[in-house]
Amino acid sequence: MTRYIMTADLRRCIGCQTCTASCRQTNATPPDVQWRSVIDVESGEYPDVRRSFIPVGCQHCGDPPCMHVCPTTATYQRDDGLVEIDYDKCIGCGYCAVACPYQARHITHRVSFAYGDTPMASEEARLDPRRTSVATKCTFCMDRVDAAKVNGLTPGVDPEVTPACVNSCIAGVLAFGDKQDPDSNVSKLLAETQHFRMHEELGTDPGFYYIWDKK
């Protein structure tokens, strides 16, 4: 069984937010919505102070609380582990948003554009009215992953079928692939590094691994 996951090598991340920009460009999210963000965490005390940059977003959990609470079955989990939303079923109740411990879900009740009420041509062309007043979140670029089944390419290896944030990362922080395949890039990365998953104690079985040191 396939389980697509993402890894982020925190030793490499410089907080440039290219992944954020790439996600927004690819998925045409509204100005106040970022499916992929990078948080800037300051820690320690002077003079031993550190900054860590952490890419965050939907963790495509193995046991997703958002799916369990959804009263409409709009949130569902695919066989390959991706957690997705059927915009035509969602009623925008926000229950999934309060159930998600990763703050990954967004509901916008009015259409907004980068420069006020008038959309740019690109915004107008890509406006999806189905995404207004319903929950939205990172899809792991589901359409690309699905394209892999048609064209025989491998997600995480071939850019055409790899999430946009992974493709755009200038520091090689992000990787994507099938954790169940021992030869996949992510399986190899996890085998040779130490890593954690955020809020793992909540039992959500997140599909996003943060690499913090070599083994």
Binding site: D40, V41, V69, C90, I91, G94, Y95, P101
Partner: protein, 292 residues
Amino acid sequence: MRVAPWHQTNWDWRAAANFMCGGSGTGLMLFALFATDTPATYRVMATLAMVLVAAGLSCVWLEIGRPWRALNVFRHPQTSWMTREGMVAPFYFGCGAIAVWVGGGEGIFPILAAALGLLFLYCQGRILTASKGIPAWREPKIIALVISTGFVEGAGLAALIFTVMPGDTPRWLAILLLGALILRRLAWTRYKDALTQKGAPKKALDVLLGFGVGFDKFGQLLPGILILGSLLFGDGTGAMIALAGLVAFGSGWSLKFTIVARAAFNQGFALPVLPIRGQGKEMPGVKPGWSK
């Protein structure tokens, strides 16, 4: 993007109103059972109980983004407590309406309506605990708090209604209200202690503990004193019990508004360990904005 927990923006006063009205309505439907031999009083109580639950659900309906798809809420009874709450509601209203029509009495419908009300109230507690993203809600001890405060609100409203309706207020109602207050006090203490011991967002704890000071005095102690005073120096009925009921009811609403609308800080982000770069040494993780 923020790192420490911040206040969620998806559920506002309208969601809180569902818990406030739902708890009061279902609690009142339960205590209306004690008025089944006085049809006029029962009808007032049961009707108000249904109006309250309906008002709460209407508030939620006003909050959802796609209200004309609201019937989709019934699609996921397998795991969603919101679906289950929604599925209980029609039966609650149906049994309640029949019970009102027959005026209480000794039939099965007042009992069914009260039982379904309790089920609805339990669903509300489970809705909160399933909200894993909000530490102040997901604490399992909140279920007992939601149910016990529903009892308090129901008994408080029943005391008020008995006072204004013709006939005598039963003396045991004061004792039941006092019992419900004691239950709520226990549930509130256990809930607060659990959050403090397990750790929670500091801002959520600040809200809850700050609220608790006034709540303990005016929401718990004051109605308790009024009830005891009425029982010791009177016949346990009348204006003092009505006032105790009003205060108990109001404090229940303020408690739920505080938990749902004010203490709803999310999980935030945390690192169990910091990344090691270059020759850097391992450092403990960080959990900004948390009490522990």
